[in-house]
């Protein structure tokens, strides 16, 4: 692959309810932060990809409504419906096409403005499934039951993911839910859908993230050293939950293998120094780690208990606090990428991992991880 890099990142604070900012206002803030981070002006942006979801936004062609605030007027602007990592993938391909030297990618949503359960219920098939009333949480709970049944992962181990990530968020000024909690607090929180308790679930959030991808030539003019895209791949599984082995994430395994191979990494567990994963629920962080080959199958829970995934551990996972500490749907995966960029630049403050040079970010689209997008990022030029 030709060389491309992330040269600017910007994100709003992740909040429960952003009463001061509409969709375009959030985009304006994130885009300007990304431009200033890159030392660029909007004139340096060759094209724009916005990422959003019409159902969440409650409007048709929602992506075009933020185009003005994203500086897209008089430019080629295109849209992706799905997680921000998929928008970024499209943005990357546009840079690699040679037509554009830079792509600005944005992703936004405001979970506070609708009813999450009804929105995610509508992702189920209307003929076969929707009427029984499942949503993202009950679907996640089904997957958690299958994963725990197969691997023997315990509720206490799930709780430790929550303790770690909410604890990490205390060092992230943009996180929504920094919490000092222990395992007992998680296990005493409200049972929403067995085995998922309230503190096993990510919150409803508002937020926007923007990042700028540049080709090698244009990356030279950026204000900060570029963070190189060493590998990027995505892969989807079957749509119906009952068609998949829900206890595994085969699509993630395929996407990760491809992304690591592009980066020349044969031993991801040994080489990756920081990971930002899509922990919409506690069990997912463990499941995704195993599926990506960052940990042997079924052992993520016990390694977590030994501190392997702490900020000071062997492989720090979600040092930002992850989705458990703030989950603006759509923006969530792009935020994972931005957080890895901050880590690789050494800008993560008290959440900083010691001298990482290679990191991985993951985004998810679809219920129970139907499709995954994996990014291998590095401060080292390929």
């Amino acid at each position: 692959m030709d060389k491309a890099a992330i040269v600017g990142v910007g994100m709003t604070a992740i909040e429960k309810n952003k009463v001061h900012d509409g969709f375009a206002d959030m985009a304006w803030e994130a885009v300007n932060l990304a431009l200033s981070d890159a030392g660029m002006s909007i004139d340096d942006i060759d094209n724009v990809v916005t990422t959003s979801n019409d159902f969440w936004d409650g409007r048709t062609i929602s992506c075009m409504a933020v185009s003005d605030a994203s500086g897209a007027r008089d430019k080629n602007v295109s849209c992706v419906e799905g997680d921000g990592t998929f928008g970024a993938f499209y943005g990357l391909t546009r840079v690699l096409s040679g037509v554009y030297g830079t792509t600005l990618v944005t992703a936004h949503s405001k979970g506070s403005e609708s009813v999450s359960s009804l929105i995610t219920n509508a992702s189920f098939d209307p003929i076969y499934e929707r009427s029984i009333g499942m949503d993202m949480i009950s679907a996640g709970a089904l997957q958690a039951s299958a994963y725990m049944h197969r691997t023997g992962t315990t509720a206490e181990q799930l709780a430790r993911v929550s303790v770690k990530n909410h604890g990490n968020a205390r060092h992230n000024p943009k996180a929504q839910l920094p919490l000092s909690i222990d395992v007992n607090d998680v296990l005493a929180s409200e049972m929403i859908c067995d085995p998922l308790r309230k503190l096993d679930c990510s919150p409803v959030s508002d937020g926007c993230c923007a990042l700028i991808i540049a080709n090698e030539d244009r990356a030279k003019s950026a204000a900060k050293p570029p963070i190189w895209i060493r590998g990027a791949a995505f892969c989807a599984d079957a749509y119906h939950l009952g068609d998949r082995d829900l206890s595994r994430a085969d699509a993630l395994t395929r996407a990760a293998k491809k992304a690591f191979a592009m980066a020349g990494i044969t031993d991801p567990a040994g080489r990756i120094q920081v990971a930002e994963l899509y922990d919409a629920f506690t069990y997912q962080e463990l499941m995704w780690l195993e599926a990506m080959g960052l940990c042997p199958d079924g052992q993520a829970g016990s390694k977590l208990e030994k501190g392997a995934f702490d900020i000071g551990g062997r492989l720090p996972v979600n040092p930002s606090g992850g989705l458990l500490s703030g989950h603006p749907v759509i923006a969530a995966g792009l935020i994972r990428m931005a957080e890895v960029v901050r880590q690789l630049r050494g800008e993560a403050g008290d959440a900083q991992v010691k001298d990482p040079s290679v990191g991985v970010a993951q985004g998810v689209n679809g219920l129970c991880g139907q499709s995954h997008c994996v990014w291998v990022l590095s401060s080292i030029r390929p």
Partner: protein
């Protein structure tokens, strides 16, 4: 602006998008739903290349990307392969909680059907349980013609 909002309620616009939809079941789902209504029988489609039976039936096999040409009946008894008990009355749930959601692999099928389980203490549901489909003639040709599953004695 920011101090203004500290002292007054922010402006909000409350609305609701209500658009009627008519989703045609199509030939494949239509045949399945008719069998539920008329015969209380659960049908699946078979991929003759993968030798897999899909319930609910699909016209195409997601694995080998060919058309599923043949139909086969499956049992109305099956095994729970994933299960959860919804305890909070989430907005999408039409019945009063606790509600048990499960993926059920019916005998003779290779994929699992999403549905609810009733007639059991929710604390006793578990993966591996055997359950049986219960039908109603009140739901017409819809998936709700299977009203729920219940444990096999």
């Amino acid at each position: 602006m920011s101090t203004l909002l500290d002292t007054i309620e922010p402006m909000i616009y409350q609305s609701q998008i209500s658009v009627p939809y008519t989703w045609w079941a199509g030939d494949t789902a239509g045949r399945f739903l008719r069998s539920l209504r008329d015969e209380q029988k659960i049908m699946g489609t078979r991929c003759d290349r993968c030798n897999r039976v899909f319930v609910p039936p699909r016209k195409t096999c997601p694995t080998c990307f060919t058309a599923n040409e043949s139909w086969t009946g499956v049992e109305s008894v099956g095994t729970v392969i994933a299960v959860t008990v919804a305890r909070r009355q989430l907005a999408a749930i039409p019945k009063k909680v606790p509600v048990v959601f499960a993926l059920i692999k019916l005998d003779g099928a290779d994929t699992a059907l999403l549905h609810t389980i009733e007639g059991i203490d929710p604390d006793r549901v578990a993966i591996g349980m055997r359950v049986r489909a219960c039908f109603t003639d009140q739901a017409g040709a819809t998936i709700d013609a299977i009203s729920h599953f219940e444990p096999v004695e």
